[in-house]
Each structure stands twice: as structure tokens, then as C-alpha cells.
């Protein structure tokens, strides 16, 4: 796949308020300006993101497949060895499609961190209580976002399938098997079947997100390796790697299997034909990057005063819009992700942060803003991938096609006209 590096000036300049960004997208670039500083930041943060993500996807699958409806899931964040050794389908020698040249089992830096944490080696439970661990709460927040927004996003067939009779029958079988020897839960299930069904739907989203991130982790690892080898020449290169990756794995099945006493229950079978791109990636981007939900923190929202939109589709609280400055405050979920990434920053990024703002002391925010930049790059990749899939090449000779491309780009960028969007901030380097 090729993205032209320049467009012939066939269209008049865009009159959009973000015309500069539109032109950059039309030239095959990203929303993020192409500077070496930006490239270094985003790749560094991808690496720092990929390590905890390697934990997230394994644990998400573990919860979806094994913990399932456990009424007291105290140990759901304690991944058994089996899941740490689980082979990533896109890394290692036996990969379906080898995206990362590294190993298929859990990343060594992750294993090291799980062992010692920030402090020192001690029993897992103590690490857990001290919060000296990977914060799965962040992953669950993303999952809940997808569950909550799934209904009205219009992407994919996954969410509507959760309401089908077929799904209910599959879930029913699994739930009954799971609580076969637990008469209390069984009686509760009889009394409140919908409650259990809803929990099961949530488990399906655990699986969905786990399968989604299983791919993103090796993609980010590989990008980091390529960068370390001197492979990327600029931000567009990095973005194009993502675009290619999105296509290459678009067909990866999304499913939900539950293992109960050694037997596999296919709540959402692979044969439904659910795909990574449509049922996981696009809903994820919409739900997590754009929408999520307002969280309790230094700012409280008053729904009666219309500070929270009436319609879920108008929610814009995702990372592309987020105010990163309150990170570190109680009740700000991204804090957990920033904290997770802090542990795995590559040295060049640590050096970079030391030289700016408050150095070590506000690294959480500096890396948060880097993360925001990097997610603008990922979103650019999604926009370019959608353009490739649904519209026309950037060097299409037909002006009507180019006009359609521009209309598409402008429609996408219109979502960043909102005052809280950070697109304008990330154009400058002094936003950090």
C-alpha cells in the first residue's frame, strides 16, 4: 500500500479552520506535525504503553475466559502463569502473522516489574495492596466505556449481537455450567437472569478489548524496535506503519470463549465472522479516544446544568479531548495509565522529560501529553486507513475523488473544532 507523499495541487486550498492539518492529511501526513521531537516522543511512549498493554490483554482474556462471573473476583488481577505464557498471535515464531520480531510470551520488562514493582520483591498480595503493580483498573475503565457506548456508535455488529436470542442462549449455557455446583448463585440467576446476562455481556467486552490489545502490543513493540534501528524517518512513516498494521490484521476474529472445568463454551463463536477492524478497533477508537465519560476529579460536572450532554454521542471526554493537567488527582482514571507507562519509559524519553517543566516531578503529566500526541497519531492512522478502505487514493487523478477525500477529512477534523479538543495544542511543541 502506498500513500503519496505529495498531492498535485488539483484542489483549491481548504477553507477549514484546521486547513493546515487537512492539507497535511491530504499529503499523506498525520494530524501531529512531522518533527523529530514528536517522532521521538510518540515512539517512546508507544513502547512504554506496550509493556503494560501486554499485561492488560492477557488479564482481560483471563478474566473473560476464566474468572468469568465469579461473584467475588478478588484475584482477577493475578494472572496465572498460563496466561503469561500465552502466545501472542502476532509475535514470536509461531505467530499467525508475525508483527513483532520479539517473543510471544509476556514481555521481560513486564515480568521484572511484576516481580519487584517500584519497591522490592515481596508477596504478590502486598504489591497489590500497595498499588505497586500494573493498574488493570484503567483497562477495565476502557472496557466499560466500550460497553456503555457500544449501543449507539453504529460500528460493527458486536453490540447488537449481545442482544440477540442466540447470544442469550449461549450465555445461558455458560452461566448454568459455571454455577452448576453453586445453588445460591443458581437461585439468584433464576430470580434475576438479566443481571447475570448483563455481567456476561461485560465479560464479552473484556474479551473484545483483550483481543484488540493483543494486536496493539506487538505493533507498538515493533515500532519501537524499528525506531531504535533508525527505521522511521518521520511521523508519517510511523503512521503508515500503523495504517498497514490495521489492514493486515483487520480480519482477526473477535470472539468470546469461556473455559469452565476444562470445557470451552463459545458465547460468541469465531464463526460469527466478527472482525478486529469493525467489531473491536473502530468501536474502541470511538468509545475510548473520543467519548469515554466524565470522571470525578478536580472538576465536578452538573448534569442538571447541562454540563454533561444529553446524548451519549455528544460525549467528548476521551484522550483526544482530555485535560491532562489534573493527572495525579484522585478520581482521574488516566492517572493509572500514566503511572503504568512511567515504569517503562525508554531512557531517551526520561532524559527528555528531565529537561522540561518540573523534570522528574511532573513526568506523569509530561508523558500524559506525549501520550495525547501519540494517540493523535494513532487516530490519524485510523482516519487514513478508513480513507484507504472507503474512499480514494491520495494521488487519485479524479478531482471528484479528491474532493470526496477532502470532505471526509474535513468531517473527521470537524470533531476537533470543540473548544476542549487538543488538536490545536499539539500543533505546537510548547504544550507539554
Amino acid at each position: 500500500m502506498t500513500i503519496a507523499t505529495e498531492t498535485k495541487a488539483k484542489l483549491p486550498p481548504s477553507k477549514h479552520e484546521f486547513a493546515e492539518v487537512i492539507h497535511r492529511l491530504e499529503a499523506g501526513g498525520a494530524m501531529l506535525p512531522d518533527t523529530p521531537e514528536n517522532l521521538m516522543q510518540i515512539i517512546g511512549i508507544y513502547k512504554a504503553y506496550a509493556v503494560p498493554m501486554d499485561f492488560y490483554w492477557r488479564d482481560l482474556l483471563y478474566i473473560a475466559e476464566r474468572v468469568f462471573l465469579d461473584p467475588f473476583p478478588f484475584f482477577k488481577y493475578f494472572i496465572p502463569k498460563e496466561y503469561l505464557d500465552l502466545h501472542n498471535h502476532y509475535a514470536g515464531d509461531d505467530a499467525d502473522l508475525r508483527i513483532w520480531r520479539g517473543e510471544a510470551t509476556a514481555h521481560p520488562e513486564l515480568l521484572e516489574f511484576m516481580e519487584k514493582g517500584e519497591t522490592f520483591k515481596m508477596p504478590k498480595l502486598l504489591h497489590h495492596w500497595l498499588h505497586d503493580r500494573v493498574n488493570m483498573e484503567f483497562a477495565e475503565e476502557c472496557m466499560r466505556s466500550m460497553l456503555w457506548h457500544g449501543r449507539d456508535m453504529g460500528w460493527g455488529l458486536f453490540d447488537s449481537y449481545l442482544d440477540s436470542d442466540e447470544y442469550k442462549a449461549n450465555a445461558d449455557k455458560a452461566i448454568k455450567a459455571y454455577f452448576k455446583y453453586n445453588p445460591v448463585m443458581m437461585a439468584l440467576y433464576k430470580a434475576f437472569p438479566d443481571l447475570f446476562l448483563e455481567q456476561c455481556r461485560q465479560m464479552s467486552y473484556y474479551s473484545n478489548l483483550g483481543l484488540f490489545w493483543e494486536i496493539m502490543a506487538p505493533v507498538f513493540f515493533e515500532m519501537s524496535d524499528i525506531y531504535d534501528e533508525g527505521g522511521f524517518k518521520g511521523v508519517p512513516d510511523a503512521m503508515n506503519f500503523l495504517v498497514n498494521g490495521i489492514f493486515a490484521i483487520a480480519g482477526r476474529p473477535i470472539y468470546h470463549h469461556v473455559y469452565i472445568r476444562g470445557e470451552c463454551y463459545e458465547i460468541i463463536p469465531k464463526s460469527k465472522g466478527f472482525m478486529w477492524l469493525y467489531e473491536a478497533a473502530l468501536p474502541y477508537v470511538e468509545a475510548v479516544f473520543y467519548r469515554t465519560s466524565p470522571f470525578r476529579g478536580t472538576k465536578s460536572y452538573n448534569a442538571q446544568a447541562k454540563q454533561v450532554p444529553d446524548d451519549q454521542k455528544d460525549f467528548h471526554y476521551g484522550i483526544l479531548y482530555a485535560d491532562v493537567f489534573p493527572v495525579g488527582t484522585a478520581g482521574i482514571p488516566p492517572t493509572l495509565l500514566m503511572q503504568d507507562m512511567l515504569h517503562f519509559l525508554p531512557p531517551y524519553l526520561v532524559d527528555y522529560y528531565r529537561q522540561h517543566c518540573r523534570g522528574e516531578n511532573d513526568m506523569l503529566i509530561q508523558l500524559g501529553i506525549t501520550f495525547q500526541r501519540s494517540m493523535y497519531c494513532v487516530t490519524s492512522a485510523v482516519i487514513q486507513a478508513l480513507r484507504t478502505a472507503l474512499l480514494y487514493p491520495l494521488d487519485d487523478p479524479n478531482p471528484k475523488h479528491l474532493q470526496a477525500n477532502r470532505a471526509f477529512f474535513e468531517a473527521q477534523i470537524n470533531r476537533f473544532k470543540r473548544p476542549e479538543a487538543r488538536l490545536r495544542n499539539i500543533q505546537a511543541q510548547n504544550y507539554r
Binding site: F325, P326, V327, R358, D362
Partner: protein, 522 residues
């Protein structure tokens, strides 16, 4: 013993200011810190040696100086001045510590700070009226220079001049009152203890007392003599503002109690209702103007006027509880004002503004000034009289003690403590809470050393709030004795007025044995 508190800072100031070789700023600062620390240590020694059961002057020193003028170098300390001495020592140290390390002309600056300390301490210690005026005037010049040279904006010259003119008038009035007092009472000396006003006609006493009230009222300041204050406090750099509001203003309230109440116990009861009303007006005025402010330093400055109103109310009521409350309020006000000015100063240095409409979200834990904000919240709570902190103890005593005597002004002051909460909620809500602006909020970090003064003051405020005995024990005996003389004299006057008629009903109205005795004696 007491001379040390005056002469060490003076010598220190001379040493820092006149040292022949060049001294780097850090060295000058260190010297000033060492000197002010030694003063704290010396004050602690005094505290440990002080006999709290003795109502009179202790550690007295007396040396004849200029006999012809009746000017003696006589010092002494009692329960009224001791807490203020301790406050001065602590706040001088705080002010020096919170001074910008790279202050311009450091040698002059630190010398002046120490001179201010010497002047104020001398005022608290002086047992000779002329000596008091001398010290009272002595600290004016350093303050004028501190505001005029190290002040904030281009208005600093104006503010300093206004301050100088007002307080000079205050000094002249006080001097005139003292001169008149001495001559008219026929005393051969200006010694505090040998002046007795009892023999003077009531009108004369009233005139002299009014002069004193206006003189000290400017210094405190009382509405409507306050207009120099907002300019001076706001233009002065935070350390100077700490000394102005925390220490110098106390010279006004101290003088009011010491010389107004102490020298005119008979006439005090006549002016007290007016003073109580003035106190209430000051409290209302301070609170309402503070609510209207857009500049946090100005807000704190106006809050100071309001809180001094309580001191006046307590002093006016002159009951056992209210007077000890008034002394406690002087100390609490000094501590709270100091912590507030210090924190406002830190915020201004880091954020670059004091505008309420610009400040936002400083409580943010990573990019904001979280500890400074937390301490500011604490300072605001202390100022609003939240229980558990020194301000509460002082205010509750003043209000409780004054209610029986002046119910209406007291109730007004009670409402004003509520208003204090209003403007501090405004201040804290705008400053500490909300969102940091992503475009501008790249503030430098507050260093630990910059937090130290506020931490020390906060600890003191907490300690005195939880252990109020340590705030009150020093002054109780002295203030009780002062109250006794007032009552004694009030009754004496009453008796004089009543005696000629020999009215039987009048005797019945007076109930306490002491009063009966008084009526019967003549």
C-alpha cells in the same frame, strides 16, 4: 535580660549593614537568620523564666538617661507584652526566611528588617512613655524604606509616603497625648508606673484619651483611619507585609490596651461603647470590602482590618474573658496574617499574578502548588475561626467575653466571622480549585525551603488551637489585674457620682461586696 532583645538586632543590623567588606546576599541572609533565631531562643528563655502568677512587670531594667526630660531607659515585660514579644520574634524570623534569596541590596534590606524588629520590641518593652514614642517612631523609617525600595509596583513610592504621613501623624498625636498627660498630672517623669490620671478632670482625660485612640487607631488601623493600609500592605513585598500586619499593627492594639486602658481606667468605660461600635464597623467594613476584592493580597489586607476589629471589641469590653481574648487575638491574627501573606507571596512569585479571575486550579497535585494550596486552605480556615486553630480560641473568647457588655456590636462581629468564611471560600475556590489553564500553567515548583515558614506557622496555629492554655496562660494574670483596676475605677467614679445624693436605692443596685465597701468607705 530584656535589653538583649533590643540591642542584638540593632547590633546585628549594624554589623550586616556596615561590614567593611562585600557580603554576598546569601551570607547577609544567613546572618539575619542567625540573629533572628537567637532572638527566638532568647524569647523562649524569657518564657521559661516568666512567672505567670505575677501580674506586674518582670525582668525590669531601669537606667537614668536624660533626667531633665524625664526620659529613662526602663524596660519591663508583663503578661500583655510577653505573647507579643514571642510573636514578634517568630514573625521576624519568618519574614527574613521568606524573603527572596536574591533580594536586591541585601545588606540594607536585612539590616532594616532587624531594625524594625528592634523598634517594635522596644515599643513592647518600654516602661517610659517617651521611650515608647522613641521606639514607636524608630520603626517608621525602616518600614518606609522597606516599602519604598522593595515594594511591588510603581505605586510603592506613593504607598510608602502615605504610610509615613499617616503613621507620623499617629506618632505626633501619641507624643502630644503623653506630654499633656505628664504635665497636666504634674508628674516629674514619663515613667509609666508613676503617672496617675485619677486626679485629672474628666474632660481632660477624655481629650487625652481621644488623642491616644486616634493615634493608635491609625496604627491598628481602625475604620475610618485605615486608608493607608491597603496600599501599604499590597505594595510591600510579602515579608514586609508580614511585619507590617503581623507585628507593627500590634503596636497599635498594644498601645491601646497598655496606655489607653492602663492609664485611663476611669475614662475607658466612657469611650468603650464607642470603641466597641468602631470595632464592629471595622469588622463589617473589612469583611465586606474583602469580599469585593479581585486581588488576593488586597483581600488578605482587608481581612486584617476586619480581624483587628475583634481586638478592639475585646479591649473595649474589658472583661476578664474578653481582654485575654483580645491579647490572644493579637497573637492569632499575627500568625494567621503572616501565613496568608507568605502564601500569597509564594503564589505571586510562582504564578506571576494575584488576580482572582486568572488564578485557578492550584490544588492540582502535579502541576499546581498543592502544598501551598493546602496551607492556604488551612490559613483561610484559621482566619475564619474554624475550631482546632488559634483563631477560633481568640475569637470565641472575645465574643463570649464581650457579649454581656456590648451585645449588639458582638452580634455584628459574630456575623462578620461568618463573612470571613465567605471571602475565604471565594478566595480558595477561585485560587485552589477548578482547572489549570493548559496554555499558561507551567509554574515552577515551590521549593521546600519556601514552604518552611508556612509549615512552622501552620504548626504553631494548630498547636495553639489544640492547646489554648499555651496561648492564654501568659496574659491571664495581667489582664485580670487590668480588668480589676477598670472595674475598681468605674465603681469609684460611680460612687463619687452617687455619694453626694446618698441615695438608698443606689446602694441596693450595687451588689458585690467590693462595691458596697467602696460606697461605704467615703
Amino acid at each position: 535580660m530584656l535589653s538583649v532583645l533590643i540591642w542584638v538586632p540593632i547590633l546585628g543590623a549594624a554589623l550586616i549593614g556596615l561590614w567593611p567588606a562585600a557580603i554576598p546576599a546569601s551570607r547577609a541572609r544567613l546572618g539575619a537568620l542567625v540573629i533572628s533565631s537567637s532572638l527566638i531562643v532568647w524569647t523562649v528563655v524569657l518564657l521559661s523564666q516568666f512567672d505567670i502568677s505575677n501580674a506586674g512587670m518582670q525582668f525590669s531594667e531601669a537606667h537614668p538617661w536624660i533626667d531633665t526630660l524625664g526620659l529613662d531607659y526602663s524596660l519591663g515585660v508583663d503578661g500583655l507584652s510577653l505573647p507579643l514579644l514571642a510573636l514578634t520574634a517568630l514573625l521576624t524570623w519568618t519574614a527574613i526566611f521568606s524573603s527572596n534569596e536574591s533580594v536586591e541590596r541585601p545588606r540594607l534590606y536585612y539590616s532594616l528588617m532587624l531594625l524594625v524588629n528592634a523598634g517594635v520590641v522596644g515599643g513592647f518593652l518600654a516602661q517610659n512613655l517617651l521611650l515608647f514614642v522613641l521606639f514607636y517612631e524608630l520603626e517608621l523609617i525602616p518600614f518606609y524604606l522597606l516599602i519604598a525600595i522593595w515594594g511591588g509596583t510603581s505605586r510603592r513610592g506613593y504607598a510608602a509616603m502615605k504610610f509615613l504621613i499617616y503613621t507620623a501623624v499617629s506618632g505626633i498625636l501619641i507624643l502630644a497625648a503623653f506630654l499633656g498627660l505628664t504635665w497636666l498630672s504634674g508628674s516629674s517623669t514619663f515613667d509609666y508606673n508613676s503617672i496617675i490620671t485619677a486626679g485629672l478632670p474628666l474632660t481632660t482625660q477624655l481629650i487625652l484619651l481621644t488623642m491616644l485612640l486616634v493615634g493608635f487607631g491609625i496604627k491598628i488601623p481602625l475604620v475610618p483611619l485605615h486608608t493607608w493600609l491597603p496600599d501599604a500592605y499590597v505594595e510591600a513585598s510579602p515579608p514586609v507585609a508580614i511585619l507590617l500586619g503581623g507585628v507593627m499593627a500590634k503596636l497599635g492594639t498594644y498601645g491601646l490596651v497598655r496606655f489607653g486602658l492602663g492609664l485611663f481606667p476611669e475614662t475607658w468605660a466612657l469611650v468603650a461603647p464607642g470603641l466597641a461600635i468602631l470595632g464592629a464597623i471595622s469588622a463589617v467594613y473589612g469583611a465586606l470590602t474583602a469580599i469585593a476584592q479581585k486581588d488576593i493580597k488586597r483581600m488578605v489586607a482587608y481581612s486584617s482590618i476586619g480581624h483587628m476589629g475583634y481586638v478592639l471589641l475585646g479591649a473595649a469590653a474589658a472583661t476578664q474573658v474578653s481582654l485575654v481574648g483580645a491579647v490572644a487575638q493579637m497573637v492569632a491574627h499575627g500568625l494567621i496574617l503572616a501565613i496568608l501573606f507568605h502564601l500569597v507571596g509564594v503564589i505571586e512569585t510562582k504564578v506571576g499574578t494575584r488576580e482572582l479571575d486568572v488564578l485557578n486550579g492550584l490544588m492540582s497535585p502535579v502541576r499546581g502548588l498543592p502544598l501551598t494550596s493546602a496551607l492556604l486552605v488551612l490559613g483561610g480556615m484559621a482566619s475564619a475561626g474554624i475550631p482546632g486553630m488559634a483563631g477560633f480560641i481568640a475569637e470565641i473568647l472575645v465574643l463570649q467575653g464581650s457579649y454581656a457588655t456590648f451585645p449588639l456590636p458582638t452580634l455584628i462581629c459574630v456575623v462578620c466571622t461568618g463573612l470571613t468564611a465567605v471571602y475565604f471560600v471565594i478566595l480558595l475556590n477561585r485560587t485552589c480549585f477548578g482547572k489549570l489553564d493548559n496554555n499558561t500553567a507551567y509554574y515552577p515548583q515551590v521549593k521546600f525551603s519556601e514552604q518552611v515558614p508556612a509549615l512552622v506557622l501552620a504548626a504553631t496555629i494548630f498547636f495553639l488551637g489544640i492547646q489554648p492554655t499555651w496561648l492564654l496562660r501568659w496574659s491571664e494574670t495581667t489582664t485580670n489585674a487590668m480588668v480589676a483596676t477598670v472595674q475598681l475605677n468605674v465603681n469609684h467614679q460611680l460612687a463619687n457620682a452617687i455619694a453626694p445624693t446618698r441615695s438608698y436605692e443606689a446602694k441596693i443596685q450595687l451588689k458585690t461586696p467590693i462595691q458596697k465597701e467602696l460606697i461605704l468607705t467615703p
